[in-house]
């Protein structure tokens, strides 16, 4: 029994010109202790997926799909009912973590206020809080400071502690390293892994556009493109033997230390992603795909599920396999 199961989730954005199909069908599951990386270009729906698991509100619109966490079916379409699960069962470190704290409240007050809403007294948890702050290398003094007195990185770590304080089953980390320097990035990412290793959280979804970062920490990777799942597999599988042309392109475009322009020229993914207001029929990647054939024009690719839960959504890959 997986810890988290997402089945055919669709979430659209309402605009005056119609629905933008930002997340148009994704199914996957997460095992106990798994860190799953969610990768893709901007606008591919990865953030939409992450956000809709926690806080689905207008202009986001729930269309269909089921989310099961530890045998509970999550009412993600119901803003009020989800409150029972948020924070305690499923929690988020948002992209905007550096601005996520009310600037005019002391950090301690923010903790006690939010814990009080779950019926927990701030004074009871002080030792635990101390331990958690140590985990992210923050001094205890931060509790008596206002968020404005902290650096961006410190605020982010305060948010990390707060978000995980109730030991949620699932933690979603949304692009939390994109604004950080390499050294800080490495430290922060190590802390995330630490959260899992110390069983603070039971599973984690790390949303990022940086695949090389996922290689360092993730157990599995899910690649999205234009609102759809493209490929999912273990980190090794995805990086060493990508099956979808898009994944292959993506990995091939990454420069690495040791690669120089004069010696080996890297190429990006040609073309642009389709508009999601009226996405094309068939495979959404076909316009940029060198292997596309008639079938890709007509039918959206079937998501083949291989052994060990490997998923690929590509006609070409399917045929090769067959």
């Amino acid at each position: 029994m997986p810890l988290l199961e997402v089945q055919d989730l669709r979430v659209y954005y309402q605009t005056i010109r119609g629905d933008v199909k930002a997340l148009d069908g994704a199914s996957f599951s997460l095992a106990e202790g798994e860190i799953m990386g969610l990768a893709g270009e901007s606008g591919c729906g990865k953030s939409t997926l992450g956000r809709s698991l926690v806080l689905l509100k207008p202009p986001m619109k729930y269309v269909e799909g089921r989310v099961t966490l530890e045998d509970f079916s999550l009412p993600i379409w119901d803003r009020e009912k989800m409150n029972a699960f948020r924070f305690s069962k499923i929690s988020l470190i948002p992209q905007y973590a550096m601005n996520a704290l009310n600037p005019t409240r002391k950090v301690k007050k923010i903790f006690t206020d939010i814990l009080a809403t779950k019926g927990i007294k701030g004074s009871q948890v002080l030792p635990e809080l101390r331990r958690r702050l140590e985990m992210v290398e923050l001094p205890l003094d931060v509790l008596n400071m206002y968020p404005i007195e902290l650096s961006g990185g410190m605020k982010q770590r305060v948010v990390m502690v707060l978000s995980t304080f109730l030991n949620p089953s699932l933690l979603i980390a949304d692009e939390i390293t994109s604004a950080l320097d390499v050294s800080t990035q490495r430290a922060v990412v190590k802390m995330l892994v630490d959260f899992r290793d110390r069983r603070v959280v039971r599973a984690m979804i790390v949303i990022t556009h940086d695949i090389s970062l996922l290689y360092q920490i993730a157990d599995s990777i899910l690649v999205m493109y234009a609102g759809k799942l493209v490929e999912k597999g273990t980190t090794e599988e995805i990086l060493r033997a990508p099956k979808h042309p898009y994944t292959r392109f993506l990995i091939a475009s990454l420069p690495d230390i040791g690669v120089r322009y004069g010696e080996r020229k890297l190429e990006g993914v040609p073309g642009c992603p389709p508009l999601l207001l009226q996405p094309p029929r068939g495979c959404r990647f076909r316009e940029r795909c060198p292997h596309a054939f008639e079938k890709c024009l007509e039918e959206p690719p079937f998501v083949a599920i291989g052994p060990s839960g490997r998923q690929v959504a590509c006609w070409q890959a399917l045929e090769e396999h067959a």
């Binding site: 490495r186 695949i211 970062l213 990995i251 990454l254 690495d256 230390i257 690669v259 322009y261 020229k265």
Partner: protein
Amino acid sequence: MLELERVTKIYRLGVLGRKALKAVDSVSFTVARGQVISLIGESGSGKTTIGRMILRLTPVTFGRILFQGADISKFHGLALKNYYRRVQGVFQDPFSSYNPIFKADRIFNIVQREFFPHLTKGEWRERVANALCSVGLEPGEVLGKYPHQLSGGQLQRLLIARAMLLEIQFLVADEILSMLDASTRIDVLNLLAELKRIRDLAVLFITHDLSLAYYISDEAIIIYRGYIVEQGAIEKVFVSPLHPYTRMLLAAVPRLDRKWGPAEVGLKAQEGKIVGGCPYHDRCLHAEKEETCKHLKPSLVFVDDRHSVACHPMGRLAKGVSHGTSEARGTSVA
């Protein structure tokens, strides 16, 4: 072609500038024609300030910046215009580089208005089309559109095309890739390399991403809290890094070919005042061994003719240290 001589930038904060913040401290380096130099550092290292000073967006506090031998702070009117004809910049945020209420190609109109008022509309249109082609854009696809209708990659290319319309010899590329997707990033980077090759363009590539810097540069300058800590040919700096800071940065880069080792990487220290001594000593893993690091600011010394470092223990390892070279490089000993 472009030379920085002990350039220092002090920001004054507060009423009447009572608080001073040294963002850049006696930085000297030169850029030759057709050379790509990477300026690498964390946020707050002063790398963007250096780029802005070269573009005259921020005045220099002490020191000089020379372009073909002339002090750029002395340029006014026509001389300044001529400077901008040769030296241009592209910035980090493609979306903020465009005035959101106007069409994206308005950036070209401004260039025409200021630099080529004598050209006819047809002539100008042809030039724009050529420039667009040279950056790999289809004029029909990008002209007449609003910035929000274009992708980040397209917008950055448009900005490079804008610079290409001038007789540009030097480009300041300030974190131009950090807001782009990985898939478009490499294309823009290839474009820069291409232009360097074809037009003999010199580029100051400001970045915090070491793999990108390695991919394109000839030389690297590692900057920490306003000081150059290591400088040299790119393969020297990356393959045999000397400064503990450079090593730490390299160890922290997430790579696709190997997983992170157990190397200790600390969080960025709180920015206190540099009291004297090595600016890096509070984060440095070697610092405790050396009392000198606490008190004496290391100067940039040559390790070999294409590689220099500002670090006491590492500097001593250097072959052929001479005071002459150190001073010629313009680094101060506090």
